[in-house]
Symmetry: C2
Subunit: 125 residues, 2 copies
DNA sequence: CCAACCGTATTAGCTAGGTTAGTACAGCTG
DNA sequence: CAGCTGTACTAACCTAGCTAATACGGTTGG
């Protein structure tokens, strides 16, 4: 389910957060779904339970999941809405990256083609 | 000339590298231009000389600048070509970010509008 | 020639963040 | 009650990034 890259510059607990958020955004996980327990996930990923808990507690603070002692952790109802709103703030990152590509001399038509391509690809998934 | 954000998650030496590369890409600095000396830059930015040297030595390894003991550091002839080539590899980052925005529910038209806007803005600079 | 600048090298130490380890407590559930 | 769940806490370790101080050798201009 989760794929962790220990060599990555981004911390493991952030990789978990990012991947779970994408599961929600893509519909792979829905409101009410139960997450793997802290201990079982730590075993299957060969990662310390504390690291998993750090990811879960941050997701809980964000309102993406709801952790209940004795029961488990579950996707909240607001999760999808919250995440969509957050992603929209990436629009500025998108513009920054776009400016870099312009500096590199990429034409507007090339960019438009690229956008079309990605949109077609995303529809198939 | 340089603007350093000590609070940023990206290391100071990488900020220097990134900004200098952008100076070259935007034409603010050209082949043969002399960079501020390690010591003078460390003074003006209130940063340890070692940190500046780390940035410079990495830029030297990349072939962006050429450091000569006793003389100084200078933009190489190949700098612009190298950097343009490197920036092209950001196209995959661009696609990844785009996929995220699609997940957030942004329409293709909104993206196209954004691209048009950034291109118009970049032409004025 | 020499003082003042240049880049470079080396060693040491500090800090913050990320991760691991071990242990413990409390709430559910069958 | 046994076994699962989340949670809390402390201690230790490692690494990256940065700082500090010092030293060496090349270049340049007065």
């Amino acid at each position: 389910m989760f794929r962790i890259d220990l060599m990555s510059r981004t911390p493991v607990y952030e990789q978990i957060i990012e991947q779970l958020e994408n599961f929600v955004l893509t519909g792979a996980m829905k409101s009410g779904d139960k997450l793997p327990s802290v201990r079982s996930l730590s075993l299957s990923l060969s990662i310390n339970p504390n690291t998993i808990q750090k990811a879960y507690s941050e997701l809980d603070t964000k309102g993406i999941i709801c952790s209940v002692p004795g029961k488990g952790s579950f996707i909240t109802e607001k999760a999808l809405i919250i995440l969509k709103q957050n992603k929209l703030s990436q629009l500025s990152d998108f513009e920054n990256l776009l400016e870099n590509l312009i500096l590199a001399g990429i034409s507007k038509d090339d960019i438009i083609d690229c956008v079309e391509k990605v949109y077609k690809r995303s529809r198939k998934i």
